[in-house]
């Protein structure tokens, strides 16, 4: 289930006896040569655009680099600067707020939606409909909601007016902007997240539900006693994926608020972008990327640990 799992059986293959149909030496020259040719293009892409930039990004974070002159090694200067950079700490705080709102609302809604679909219908059309927002780009989603939440003409404020509320500057108000961004992206990702959870629900044996029904358990009881406990490993994995994605919020901010008002929506990735491409401070931007990477790795490790603990509970 986890990405690393499928390598396990193969990993033993090196030392295990070769398949019976192959009594020849362990590696056939022709086969190895063919394999290297097959892997070559992907290997070039991997080295050039994944492995090398990862090392280079790490190196750049210890330099002073403006893209024009060559990178000067500056030791820990960038990291020292980080500690005292209030805008950076603010960006972490703002992103954290975004992630908490985004993930909590999205996870609860997606779990509800997945269970509803699972218990009510097998319609593929319905599952297709809820996936629709995920298929259009972040940019289009952002523009669409920017228009619907417009202060003067937006339909959301119009409808608020019908029930007697004053219009709200959803993207322009310091306290509203982060919740607004978080909810816009809930709208885009809800269906996809629900379908991930739904895939997990389908792995639960239907007989369990039959048995519970025979025992006269109600839906609510079934949910808390059967569905939720059996779903916990899946939920942990879904959370790893969505939380990591959520921390990297950028597109919606870039299209709508561009970090404002003041720094209310200057999320980490937008701050990295700002430092690199508006101030040409690539070294500093790389240092912030390293910190963001470490945060994400920490989040993933912590959550995967939870996942493993849960799995051992089950079996």
């Amino acid at each position: 289930m986890a990405t690393a799992a499928p390598t396990a059986p193969g990993a033993a293959g090196d030392d295990a006896p070769a398949p019976v149909d192959n009594p020849r030496p362990r590696w056939r020259g022709g086969e190895t040569r063919a394999a290297l040719l097959f892997v070559a293009p992907a290997m070039i892409g991997f080295l050039a655009f994944f492995a090398w930039p990862t090392l280079r990004g790490l190196y750049l974070s210890f330099t002073d680099y403006d893209l024009l002159t060559s990178a000067d090694f500056s030791g820990l200067d960038n990291y020292r600067r980080l500690l005292e950079d209030e805008v950076f700490w603010n960006s972490l705080w703002v992103t954290l707020k975004y992630v908490v709102i985004n993930i909590s609302v999205q996870t609860f809604a997606a779990l509800l939606l997945a269970v509803l679909i699972h218990r009510l219908t097998r319609s593929v059309v319905l599952r297709g409909i809820i996936l629709l927002p995920y298929l259009i780009s972040n940019v289009v989603v952002a523009l669409l909601w920017y228009w619907m939440a417009d202060y003067n003409l937006g339909v959301i404020n119009e409808m608020l007016g019908w029930v007697g509320f004053d219009p709200v500057a959803f993207f322009g108000d310091e306290s509203w902007s982060i919740p607004t961004l978080a909810l816009v992206n809930v709208w885009r990702h809800l269906g996809y997240t629900a379908l991930l959870i739904f895939a997990g629900l389908q792995m639960i044996n239907r007989d369990v539900y039959e048995a519970a029904a025979v025992d006269g358990a109600g839906e609510v009881r079934i949910f808390f006693r059967i569905t939720l406990p059996l779903l916990r490993p899946v939920m942990a994995l879904v959370l790893v994926l969505t939380v990591i994605g959520s921390w990297q919020i950028f597109d919606t901010v870039a299209v709508t608020t561009q970090g404002g008002p003041v720094d209310a929506t200057r999320v980490v990735q937008y701050y990295i972008y700002d430092q690199a491409f508006n101030r040409f401070d690539f070294g500093y931007a790389s240092a912030i990327s390293v910190v963001l990477f470490l945060i994400l790795a920490g989040v993933a490790l912590a959550q995967l640990k939870l996942l493993r603990a849960d799995e051992s509970d089950q079996s």
Partner: protein, 304 residues
């Protein structure tokens, strides 16, 4: 379908009751929230921008017109455009659309083909270090894009590929860890016998790959291709770093510029919504054609 035909005794949720009704209502509400913005998009795109403000709450087009689409596609004259509240400035929409098509198509072809080659070597060939290399490939799934984007930008800039198609395409062209992982899973499941029969007939590894493996995997290849195309079509961060120039600008980048280039007279919301609607058409068409496959591909095969 299967559950519906079961005798009622075993059905847990077949009886109509208040709880079940409430559940359907909740599901209905979520569907309305999912679909309403699309309706609003279409309604705005068919309105006359100049009088849009007169009925901000109407779910039908205000003063129905095809004008916004004509403005976006460049078939409206400057006077016509301004009469309906457009800016009258040329959008070069066709060029952006063409760029998006070129970039997304090349990324899809390259990524799926090269990832399939690598996946074949990982799944079906025996060579020293295979599983270690595969493990390293898969760990790249964990590296967040933001971390590699800055150094990749420097690389593309040093190669002199800024504002070129190769520059926009390169990082996605050769592989993604997910594509390799996804296809390897399918190739592992192909029966060895077919392969060995071909080998006895004297076919080499390349012949087997093209004549046996690829044709037998057309379904997963199509699914991966559609997913790759949609992702490439929707990508924003990277093309806006390396492809700002008009000649290679893709739709997402062009659309995002709307915010900063808003005219003094008030934004052309109708034109913008028409543009976003057209931008969403290709992915929607793919979804209509491959919907069931895409929906069913969302499994725990890894990420995305």
């Amino acid at each position: 379908m299967r559950t519906t035909s079961r005798p009622h005794g075993s059905g847990t949720v077949r009886r109509w009751n208040v709880g079940r009704l409430l559940a359907w209502v909740a599901l209905f509400v979520i569907i309305v929230i999912t679909l309403a913005p699309f309706l609003w998009m279409a309604r705005t795109a068919l309105s006359n921008n100049r009088v849009l403000f007169t009925e901000p709450g109407s779910w039908l087009p205000v003063d129905f017109t095809w004008g916004p689409f004509e403005r976006v596609l460049g078939s409206a004259s400057t006077e016509e455009a301004q009469a309906e509240g457009g800016s009258g400035a040329s959008l070069r929409f066709w060029a952006y659309l063409r760029n998006s098509v070129i970039v997304s198509t090349l990324i899809t072809l390259g990524q799926v083909f090269f990832s399939a080659m690598a996946a074949y070597a990982f799944a079906r060939l025996r060579w020293p270090g295979r599983d270690k290399v595969f493990f390293v490939f898969v760990t790249a799934l964990m590296v967040p894009p933001v971390f590699t984007m800055l150094p990749n930008f420097v690389l593309i800039k040093n190669l002199g590929l800024l504002n070129t198609y190769p520059g926009i395409i390169a990082p996605f062209f050769f592989m993604t860890p997910f594509a390799v992982f996804f296809l390897r899973q399918f190739f592992l499941g192909i029966s060895r016998e077919v392969e060995e029969a071909a080998m006895i007939d004297g076919a080499g590894y390349f012949r087997i790959f093209f004549r046996v493996i690829l044709p037998m995997s057309s379904a997963p290849l199509a699914t991966l291709g559609v997913l790759t195309f949609i992702n490439a079509w929707n990508e924003y961060f990277w093309p806006q770093l390396v492809g700002q120039e008009e000649s290679v600008r893709v739709l997402t980048v062009a659309l995002s510029a709307f915010h900063s280039s808003t005219p003094q007279t008030g934004p052309d919301w109708a034109g913008l919504m028409a543009a976003t609607l057209i931008a969403a058409v290709p992915t929607m068409l793919l979804f209509l054609a491959f919907g069931r496959r895409i929906v069913n591909s969302i499994q725990f095969t890894g990420v995305r």
